[in-house]
C-alpha cells in the first residue's frame, strides 16, 4: 500500500477514545462529589475520623498498593528462582555481581552516576552564572531548557540522527561523522558500536537534556542571593571568579547538592536513552535497562527483582540525604 488513510477514517477511529477520556474524568469527579456529600453529614465526634479517612485514605491505599506491598514482594522475588517459586538464597545477587555481562552493566552504571550528574550540574551552574550576567536571558534559557520538554525518547531520536553512521563511500548524513571528517578523519567509526565510546555518547544525550534543568534551578538560587551581599562583596573588590567562589557558591551549595543528588537518582534509574539508542547492546547496558530485559525479555523474575533491589539500595542513601536536609530545614522554621 502506498496511499495514506483518509482523514475521515482516522478521525472516526479516534472519537470513541475522546469519549473514554471525558467519561473517566466525569466518573472520577462524580465519585468524589458523592463521597464528599455523604461524608459531610458526619457530625460531632465522628467528623474528624471521617474527614481523615476520606481525604487521606485514597492516597494511603494507592501508595500502599503501588509502592509498599510491591516493594516487599520484589524483595521476596529477588531470593527466588526465575519463576518466582523456589527459594534460592542470594544466588540472584551472586549472579548480578559475578556474571561478566552484569559486571559490564554495573561498571557502566557507576560511570553514569559519577560522570553524567557532575557534568550536567556543573555545566548548568556555569550557565546559570553566565546567564545571570547578561541582559536578555529569557530566550537563551528557553533554548537550553527545551530538551527537558521533549522526552528522553525524543532526545534519543534527535541524537541518533547526529550519530548516524554511513560506510565509506556513502554520503554522510550524520552531523558527528561530518564534523570529524572536516577535521581530517577519513572513515568515521560506527559510533554506536564503538566501545566504550558509545556509553559516553549516550551520556551526552543525558547531559543535553539535564543541563537546562540544572541551569534553571541554580539560576533561581543565584537570583535569591540578596543583592546587598553581592554589592558589599563587590565594593570590597570581589569580582568575577572570586565573587563566585566566595559568595555565590557557598550561598547556592545546598541547591547544587539537591540538583546533583536528584540527577544521580535519575541516572541510576536511567532507562529510556539506553533502551531507545542501543537496547542495551554493544556494551552500553545499565542497571535499569538490564532489569527490564531480565524481567520482560528473559522472563527471569528472580534476576529482575534482584536488580530492582540493588537499584533500591543505591537510591536510598541519596534520597535519605535529601529527606534529612528537608527535616533540618523544617525544624529551623
Amino acid at each position: 500500500m502506498t496511499t495514506t488513510n483518509a482523514w475521515s477514517d482516522v478521525w472516526s477511529q479516534l472519537v470513541p477514545k475522546f469519549g473514554q477520556i471525558l467519561f473517566s474524568i466525569a466518573l472520577f469527579a462524580a465519585v468524589l462529589v458523592i463521597a464528599f456529600w455523604l461524608a459531610s453529614r458526619a457530625r460531632g465526634k465522628a467528623e474528624r475520623p471521617v474527614v481523615v479517612t476520606l481525604m487521606l485514605g485514597p492516597a494511603i491505599v494507592l501508595v500502599a498498593i503501588g509502592l509498599v506491598v510491591p516493594g516487599l514482594q520484589t524483595i521476596l522475588f529477588s531470593v527466588r528462582d526465575p519463576y518466582g517459586q523456589g527459594f534460592v538464597g542470594l544466588q540472584n545477587f551472586g549472579w548480578a555481581f559475578t556474571d561478566p555481562g552484569m559486571r559490564q552493566t554495573l561498571t557502566n552504571t557507576v560511570l553514569w552516576i559519577v560522570l553524567a550528574p557532575i557534568l550536567s550540574t556543573g555545566i548548568g551552574l556555569l550557565l546559570a552564572v553566565l546567564v545571570d550576567r547578561i541582559k536578555r536571558e529569557a530566550l537563551a534559557k528557553a533554548l537550553i531548557f527545551m530538551p527537558m520538554a521533549i522526552s528522553f525518547v525524543g532526545a534519543s531520536v534527535v541524537w541518533k540522527f547526529v550519530y548516524q553512521y554511513a560506510g565509506p563511500g556513502n554520503p554522510q548524513i550524520g552531523l558527528l561523522s561530518s564534523i570529524v571528517m572536516a577535521f581530517g578523519v577519513k572513515n568515521p567509526p560506527n559510533w554506536m558500536l564503538t566501545q566504550p565510546l558509545n556509553t559516553f555518547l549516550l551520556m551526552v544525550i543525558y547531559i543535553w537534556v539535564q543541563t537546562g534543568f540544572a541551569m534553571v534551578v541554580l539560576s533561581a538560587a543565584i537570583k535569591a542571593v540578596p543583592m546587598d551581599i553581592n554589592e558589599a562583596a563587590s565594593l570590597d573588590g570581589a569580582t568575577g571568579f572570586r565573587l563566585f567562589r566566595t559568595i555565590t557558591m557557598p550561598m547556592v551549595r545546598g541547591t547544587f547538592v539537591v540538583v546533583l543528588t536528584t540527577a544521580m537518582v535519575a541516572t541510576l534509574k536511567l532507562f529510556d536513552i539506553v533502551r531507545t539508542m542501543t537496547g542495551g547492546n554493544f556494551g552500553t547496558s545499565v542497571l535499569a535497562n538490564e532489569m527490564y530485559s531480565q524481567t520482560f525479555v528473559q522472563f527471569n523474575s528472580g534476576h529482575g527483582a534482584a536488580l530492582a533491589v540493588i537499584l533500591f539500595i543505591g537510591v536510598t542513601p541519596m534520597i535519605w540525604y535529601n529527606v534529612r536536609s528537608l527535616r533540618k530545614e523544617r525544624t529551623i522554621r
Binding site: 482523514w7 520484589t74 534520597i319
Partner: protein
Amino acid sequence: MSTHADTTTTMHSVRTRHDNPVRDFLSSKAASIAVFIIATLWTIPTFGLFVSSFRTKDAVTSTGWWTALSNPAWTFDNYKQVILGGTDNLQVPLVNYVVNSLAITVPATIIPITLAAMAAYAIAWVPFRGSDAVFFTIFGLQVVPLQMSLIPLLSLFSQGWSIGKVTIIPTFDNGLTLFGHQVLPAFKIAGNYAAIWLPHTMFALPLAIFLIHNFIAALPRELMEASKVDGANHFLTFTRVVLPLSVPALASFAIFQFLWVWNDLLVGMTFAGGSDAIMPLTYRLAQLSGSLGSHWELLTASAFVAMLIPLIVFFSLQRFFVRGLLAGSVKS
C-alpha cells in the same frame, strides 16, 4: 552569616578595579557571547531533525541536512504519511498514539493531583495523631524505584492479589458483586488505559503530596478559622477556600506531572502490553526508532509530532513549569 562576614573582611586587602564600567561591560559581553554559543550548540541537533522532517527521502539519505539550502527538496509528505498512516512503513496512524498519550496523560495528571491535594489538606489542617509520621513516610516512599513495582502491579492487574486462598484485592474481570447485587460492571484493568493511569498515580503521589503540602500548610491559619466560624466543615473549607488559593501550586505541579507522564517510556512499555489501542506515543516512537532505520524522513517527522504537544505545553506554560521545579528543589 558569620562565614560571609569573614570573607568580606578578608577581601578588603584585595581591592581591585571594582567600579570599572568598561570591565563590567566586557564581562557581560563575554558572558553574552558564551551563552549565545552554548544556546546555539544546544539547539543544533533539534534544528537538524526539524529541517530533515521537511525534506524528501532522497534528499535526507543523500545529503546532510546542513546542505538543505543548496539541495532544496522540500515536502510535507513525510508528515502526511506519519500522521495518517496506512502506508507499508506506518500502518497505524501516529495520531492514534497522540490520542492514546492524551488519554493516558490527562487523567494521570488530574487524578493524582486531586488525591494529593486532599491528602495534603488532611495532613496540614485536620489535626490527628501521627500526621507528621504519615507525611514523612509518604515522602520517604520516593526511595522505592518504579522498577520495584512493575512485576507485582502487573500481576495485580491481571490476577488480583491474594494471600493463600484469601482474596485481598479481586480482579474486576467479572465486575464486583456484593450481597448478590452487581455493584460494578465487568472491567478488565489489564489492557485498558486504567492500567497506565493507576501506576502513574501511585508513583506520583509521594512527591505530589510533599510539594502541595508545603504550599497548603503555609496558608494563613486565620483563613481556616474564619471559614470554620462561618460554619463550613472541612470539605467546604477544602473546596471553597483551600483549592482556589492553591491553584498556582496545583498548576505548576500539573504541568510537571503532564510532561512527566507524556514523556514516560517505562510505565507505558510495561503496562500497555504492546497493544496499539492504548500504547503511548513515546513507546511507539521508540519502536519506530528501531523499525524505521532507513527511513529518516519518516522518523524525523514522527519525532517532531511526538515533541509537538510537550513543546506547546512547555513554551506556553514555561513560567509555571519552572516554578514547579523550583518548589521542589530551592528553599524560598
